[in-house]
């Protein structure tokens, strides 16, 4: 029984760690990260956009960036 819990914890840790890496990849790529955005809104007590709206606004802002030669 105890083993299972430990195994469970280890697994959830791995999943969490994996999500951390995904988050890093998203940032480097410049991809939208809705979960991070939700956390930001919660921390600042500001109303959050829906995921669809957030993604749409994110891409719109990205389209104004420059890529170098």
């Amino acid at each position: 029984m105890q083993r299972e819990t430990e195994g469970g914890r280890g697994w959830s840790k791995t999943v969490k760690g994996g999500q951390g890496w995904l988050r890093v990849l998203r940032r480097i790529l410049g991809a939208p990260d809705y979960q991070a955005y939700l956390e930001h809104c919660r921390a600042g007590h500001v109303p959050a956009l829906s995921e669809r709206e957030y993604v749409a606004q994110f891409f719109e802002a990205k389209g104004k960036g420059v890529r170098c030669c």
Binding site: I28, A36, Q57, F58, G63, G65, V66, R67, C68
Partner: protein, 678 residues
């Protein structure tokens, strides 16, 4: 004890770097291993980063971690986000590195490996990285304002308008020359064209995936896109070997020009999520992984450099790849990788809005540019591992090759048609002669490096696949630059015209979107067409023009940086930006002057036009018009920058002589909310 260890350690690194430079400079006749080139570069970067960038960060700009950055003050979870410095380094690097640092060094290899390498390594430490870092710091202290806005506020409004105009013109030349590289790499290459054509439906599919089907799931969409891309790469080989299919994807330069123009227009008009963003994700993935793989492959095989340190063209100035002597043209040909004005746009764009603490700017701004220079050094290595005869046969048109045949023969840079034919068939192409533009020769160099690094896996049989992988890699991010560039050019044009006619300035008003996109596309499309039909290959005249414009933009950025330093009361450190500025102005003005007024028809636009007057060539009229247009463009760049430098000098004098109060538009000091070390 620690001090002693540091002293010995850094002394050792400096001595190793100096020894490596010694080996490179003193090599005469014997082949040099690429390891020396890498050692010289890496030691110089290490010393430059450890000492010079620290001096810039601490003494010149006085970066202060207690001061809140725009990312913290305006954190909105979207564009203003405090970001880990390693993550932001990757993001910033992906935004600044493109085809420029790959192609410039390949073209400059016509002078031998030494001049280009020295300029890449020394230029970046004292010039390019300083420029990127300076503009990043200035923008960081001004809420992430753009270069144009800073020029307007800190120098004067006329300078701001001029800087903006300069950026627009430079963008047009840049897009034309990049498009020309793609056209030259894809003409008569069914494998290449099929692969690149496939990237469009792949990007559309990814766009639909991450916007409509599963909003925000960029990772999944990118993995699917990447897999399809590899499939398209392998499929290209099948298409090329199938006679009926191959003819569908075999096109001449002019047809490809039409396709490029149509693509640029469509990408600028469509919503960004459809084509532009997905392509950007694909190219970022490919860019980072390929550059890392190339570095590892070079380290594994440490190839010998077959190109000599200096070729006769360095002093003769009759090079077949591009005309002109080492000074000033080596410094114009390699812009990105040593100093690139374009980076000032990124360093005053998305990056300053994401910096978590001020001192991170050193690693991201200065360190990011060092990495780009390293990419340039790798491109130089890839080009110089080619046999010089093959290099010159690939990078010049038959007309230019004939003119330079005597010097090439004396230097022993000759190659038989059989060798070229065998090379082409190994790369899965019909011919590799006269594939100017740098991309194909870089691809051959990369393919050979990758193939020998993976030879244990039977890699040499995969050479053709590696060649087309390298072509796809270059073409993919050139296309990314073309679609974002056309779009940014469109926004600029809309903003400029919007001052006179506000309706036109609405970025979502369709008539304005279409008209502005058409104007921008027509602008670069014209220069592209001119390059494609040019009997000397086009790169010959367009690449120097691009180099001049990019370096002049760097001069604009350094002018703004110097003005800000003087207004901050740091005039005794103003030499950090004035020295590279003086060098760039000397180099670009000399090059611009020679391109316009040189009596040599291969070099000077006007002399070339005069040599055509009264000739029986049916195209003479058009060629003469193009020479005059190029003259006009070069003179326009030069005069814009002259005016900008003049107004900056006046501003410096007014402030330094106490006639004007030194007023900067720095954002007020706000203490960081996060604890130190957070």
């Amino acid at each position: 004890m620690n001090r002693l260890a540091a002293l010995l350690g850094w002394g050792g690194i400096a001595a190793l770097g100096a020894a490596a430079f010694g080996v490179l400079a003193l090599s005469r006749g014997e082949t040099v291993n690429a390891a020396w080139l890498l050692t010289a570069a890496v030691c110089t970067y290490a010393v430059g980063y450890r000492f010079y960038s620290r001096f810039l960060a601490a003494r010149v700009f006085g970066l202060d971690d207690r001061r809140a950055t725009p990312a913290e003050r305006y954190n909105n979870g979207r564009d203003f986000v405090p970001t880990n410095k390693w993550v932001l380094y990757g993001h910033h690097f992906a935004a600044i590195a493109g085809a420029g640092p790959l192609v410039g060094p390949v073209l400059a290899a016509q002078f031998g490996f030494l001049p280009g390498t020295l300029w890449l390594v020394i230029g970046v430490v004292l010039g390019g990285a300083v420029q990127d870092f300076t503009i990043l710091c200035c923008s960081l202290r001004r809420n992430g304002k753009s270069l144009g806005q800073m020029a307007k506020e800190e120098v004067n409004p006329a300078a701001g308008a001029m800087a903006m105009l300069a950026v627009l013109f430079i963008m047009i030349i840049l897009l034309a020359v990049l498009a020309l590289i793609v056209v030259n790499a894809l003409k008569a290459s069914p494998w290449g064209l099929f692969t690149i054509a496939c990237t469009i439906p792949i990007a559309l599919l990814m766009g639909w995936w991450m916007k409509v089907w599963r909003p925000g799931r960029v990772g999944e969409a990118s993995v699917a896109g990447g897999a399809l891309l590899l499939l398209a790469l392998v499929g290209g080989g099948y298409v090329a070997s199938h006679p009926a299919l191959a003819t569908i994807f075999t096109h001449r330069g002019i047809a490809l020009t039409g396709m490029m123009v149509a693509y640029g227009f469509v990408a600028s008009v469509l919503p960004v999520w459809m084509l532009l963003c997905p392509r950007d994700y694909l190219s970022t993935f490919l860019k980072i992984t390929t550059i890392l793989a190339l570095a590892v492959a070079i380290l594994i095989i440490l190839p010998p450099l077959k190109m000599p340190a200096l070729t006769p063209f360095a002093t003769l100035g009759e090079g077949p790849v591009f005309a002109g002597k080492l000074f000033p043209f080596a410094f114009i040909t390699i812009a990105c990788g040593a100093v690139s004005g374009f980076h000032a746009l990124v360093a005053s764009g998305t990056t300053p809005k994401m910096i978590a603490r001020e001192s991170d700017a050193r690693f991201i701004g200065y360190g990011g540019m060092l990495m780009e220079s390293f990419v340039g050094v790798m491109a130089m290595i890839a080009a110089c591992t080619l046999d010089p005869g093959i290099y010159f046969a690939m990078n010049t048109t038959p007309a230019a090759l004939a003119q330079a045949s005597q010097v090439l023969g004396q230097a022993g840079f000759v190659v038989t048609p059989d060798v070229m034919g065998e090379l082409a068939s190994r790369m899965g192409e019909t011919t590799l002669i006269a594939r100017s533009g740098g991309a194909p020769s870089l691809a051959v160099g990369m393919a050979q490096i990758f193939a020998s690094a993976t030879s244990v896996l039977g890699g040499t049989t995969l050479t053709a696949l590696w060649y087309h992988f390298a072509i796809m890699f270059e073409a993919l991010f050139i296309l990314t630059t073309i679609d974002t560039g056309t779009r940014v050019g469109r926004f600029m044009l809309q903003e400029i015209v919007g001052h006179v006619w506000p309706r036109f300035g609405e970025t979502s008003w369709y008539p304005s979107v279409i008209a502005a996109s058409a104007v921008v596309v027509a602008g670069w499309g014209y220069f592209l067409y001119q390059g494609v039909v040019d009997p000397l290959g086009g790169i010959n005249s367009l690449w120097p023009l691009f180099g001049i414009s990019n370096q002049l933009l760097a001069a604009v950025a350094l002018c703004v940086g110097t003005t800000i330093l003087i207004k901050m009361g740091r005039q005794r450190f103003a030499w950090v930006t004035v020295a590279p500025l003086a060098w760039l102005v000397t180099v670009t003005m000399t090059a611009g002057w020679q391109k316009v007024f040189s009596a040599d028809p291969r070099l000077g636009f006007l002399a070339h036009a005069a040599s055509l007057a009264g000739s029986s060539n049916p195209d003479a009229g058009r060629l003469i018009f193009n020479d005059r247009l190029n003259t006009f463009v070069a003179l326009l760049f030069m005069s814009v920058v002259t005016v900008l430098i003049g107004t900056s000098l006046r501003e410096w004098w007014l402030v330094l002589s106490g006639r004007k109060r030194a007023e900067t538009h720095e954002a007020p000091y706000v203490e960081r909310a996060y604890a130190a070390g957070d």
